[in-house]
């Protein structure tokens, strides 16, 4: 069918965009462009940073698109069910209760706490949503997510209010999201989760297309709506928690990228999911470049750049094209 062929063309275009972004990301930085002299910087600083940006961008975009499909709402992002709040709380706890003391620990507790915090928060949301409402409607789940997010931010505020300025600053920096300290170690840490989560989500793209006609009709078309929703939410959450644990809370990617993809290539998840992976990776690599150049007094956090570029872009797209899930 012609629509399928167009899908391949878009995927190819997105892949080329990603390739260009990778080249640019590796070439540009305060230490100058490619040369043998700064090979060390390129291999140990820029390349892991580009790789991590690609992984984080791809995962947040894929998870965002999947969440949007499973909740049939174009405005939700992968932080919807409390993943951001939980990760933020986990990170806050580690930073507030002695980040210095953990420097020689075998396992860095900061990403671990953020990861577990995100998973725990979404699990609580799911259990609460399931206990208080019929799981056939996702509304109760979303409301439970709002409640859990408020709870985590209340606890976080309580802890921070008793902390020193240094701790508050460190937490704030983490929350904004950044890849300043990206290393190959981080890449190795998150890659397995991202690969598994990505494979599961991609395997459900046909189910997300069936869900576009709503829970009820999807059920009469033979889709086990509840199982698909749990599986997709779990996979998206694990992937999101993994990338958030090393990057902090990078805003807007999970909404803007799938949206932009949908507006250009149509709403079918068979296309939206794979193309969002490539576009999300490219977007975050590019968004990470200005931060490296704007160094004074400190590097501009990536989350600030994504929101700063993403929001106007999003508004323009909303003006020019109509959004559908």
């Amino acid at each position: 069918m012609t629509t399928n062929r167009r899908g391949w063309v878009w995927l190819l275009a997105a892949t080329l965009l990603l390739a260009a972004a990778v080249v640019l990301g590796v070439m540009v930085g305060p230490a100058g462009s490619l040369s043998a002299a700064n090979w060390n910087i390129i291999w140990n600083v820029r390349m892991p940073r580009v790789a991590l940006a690609a992984i984080v961008g791809a995962m947040l975009s894929l998870a965002g698109a999947s969440y949007q499909g499973v909740f049939r709402n174009p405005l939700v992002d992968p932080y919807l069910l409390g993943a951001a709040g939980g990760a933020g709380l986990g990170a806050t706890m580690v930073i507030a209760f002695g980040r210095a003391a953990t420097s020689d620990w075998f396992v860095d507790p900061l990403p671990l706490a953020a990861f577990l915090g995100a998973i725990a928060a979404v699990t609580v949301t799911y259990l609460a949503g399931a206990a208080f409402g019929s799981m056939r409607t996702s509304t109760s789940l979303v409301l439970a997510g709002v409640a859990v997010a408020s709870l985590t931010s209340a606890i976080q505020a309580f802890v921070l209010q008793r902390s020193s300025d240094g701790v508050i600053r460190a937490v704030y920096n983490w929350l904004l999201g950044s890849l300043v300290n990206a290393s190959w170690h981080d890449v190795r840490l998150v890659l397995p989760y991202v690969v598994v989560s990505g494979a599961v989500l991609l395997a459900h793209r046909r189910h997300l297309d069936v869900l576009r006609v709503g829970d009820d009709e999807a059920l009469t078309l033979g889709l086990d709506v509840r199982r698909v929703r749990i599986t997709v939410v779990a996979a998206a959450t694990i992937g999101t928690a993994a990338v958030v644990s090393v990057s902090g809370l990078i805003a807007f990617v999970g909404i803007v990228v799938p949206h932009a993809v949908r507006m250009v290539c149509g709403g079918s998840y068979r296309r939206v999911l794979p193309i969002s992976i490539a576009v999300g990776a490219a977007f975050l690599i590019l968004a990470d470049i200005p931060g490296r150049m704007l160094q004074n007094p400190a590097e501009t956090p990536l989350g600030v750049v994504t929101a700063f570029c993403g929001a106007p872009f999003f508004m323009v797209l909303l003006r020019t094209r109509r959004a559908t899930v």
Binding site: M1, T2, T3, A203, R206, D209, V210, R212, V213, G214, D216, E217, L219, T220, L221, G222, L223, D224, G266, G267, S268, R322, T324, V325
Partner: protein, 260 residues
């Protein structure tokens, strides 16, 4: 033997009874029409039959209780057209009709050549082939109803449930849609249960009518047996006349309350 059997089927929402136990049998290839005032329980009966609301009693298709079927298995036995289908604006007609093949695609599978052929065949049969690449948002009301029907028929289920399939259509498109259902019923041997408000049309197309009132089955039988002025007046709370044509067609006409 009856293809579809509601045995003491009952529905309640949060303890409030919406459908009192009722028993109805629809023979293979038959067309049963549920009639009754708004809120009588017509949709509840249809929705419980396809697993969207919990029910008491049993629903059996060709002797198999749907309660024992998996979601997938049930969707191969029963196709359902809701009153207000969700039509994703930028989905194409072909993609939409292909959704009807979902029950036949394995969990991690993709639509096979035979699924695509089945979707294309239904589009052809319903004279929709030219629409295949049209986006759903560009269709008129009558065209929408036809592609929704096409999706249900592509599902290949022996039982087709329709919830007020014609309520949003003008008289010409009502006739077109019902003729289409009737043709599919005859060509594919479908067993049809529909909820309908237009009593004249209900009597014209269905071979049996069941009148629901406040969740109870108050009358059932052939159109001539159910479409009687005293029955309709009692349960709809209006005064009507029923006029019979020579060919037996019943025409239901409301009486004006006050004549000038």
């Amino acid at each position: 033997m009856s293809e579809l059997l509601f045995g003491d089927l009952s529905v309640s929402y949060d303890g409030r009874v919406a459908v009192h136990p009722l028993t109805l049998a629809v023979p293979s290839g038959g067309w049963l029409c549920l009639i009754g005032p708004n809120g009588a329980g017509k949709s509840s009966v249809l929705r419980s039959a396809c697993g969207l609301v919990a029910h008491g009693g049993s629903v059996t298709v060709a002797g198999v209780d749907t309660a024992t079927m998996s979601t997938r298995r049930r969707s191969r036995a029963i196709a359902f057209v809701p009153q207000v289908p969700v039509l994703p604006a930028d989905m194409t007609v072909y993609e939409y009709v292909l959704l009807g093949r979902s029950p036949f695609i394995s969990y991690f599978g993709v639509a096979s050549a035979s699924d695509r052929a089945a979707a294309a065949e239904v589009l052809g049969e319903l004279d929709l082939a030219d629409f295949a690449q049209r986006r759903l948002e560009t269709l008129s009301g009558g065209e929408r109803q036809r592609i929704v029907l096409a999706r249900a028929i592509a599902q290949g289920s022996p039982v087709l449930l329709l919830d007020e399939p014609t309520s949003a259509l003008d008289i010409g498109h009502q006739q077109q849609a019902l003729e289409l259902v009737d043709r599919m019923r005859r060509e594919r041997g479908l067993t049809v249960v529909s909820a309908m408000h237009d009593l004249t049309l209900a009597g014209l197309y269905a071979d049996r009518l069941a009148l629901l009132h406040e969740g109870g089955l108050v009358a059932q039988g052939s159109p001539a047996e159910v479409l009687r002025a005293e029955i309709l007046s009692e349960f709809y709370g209006v005064s009507v006349r029923v006029h019979y044509e020579d060919d037996g067609t019943a025409i239901v006409i409301p009486n004006r309350r006050t004549r000038v």
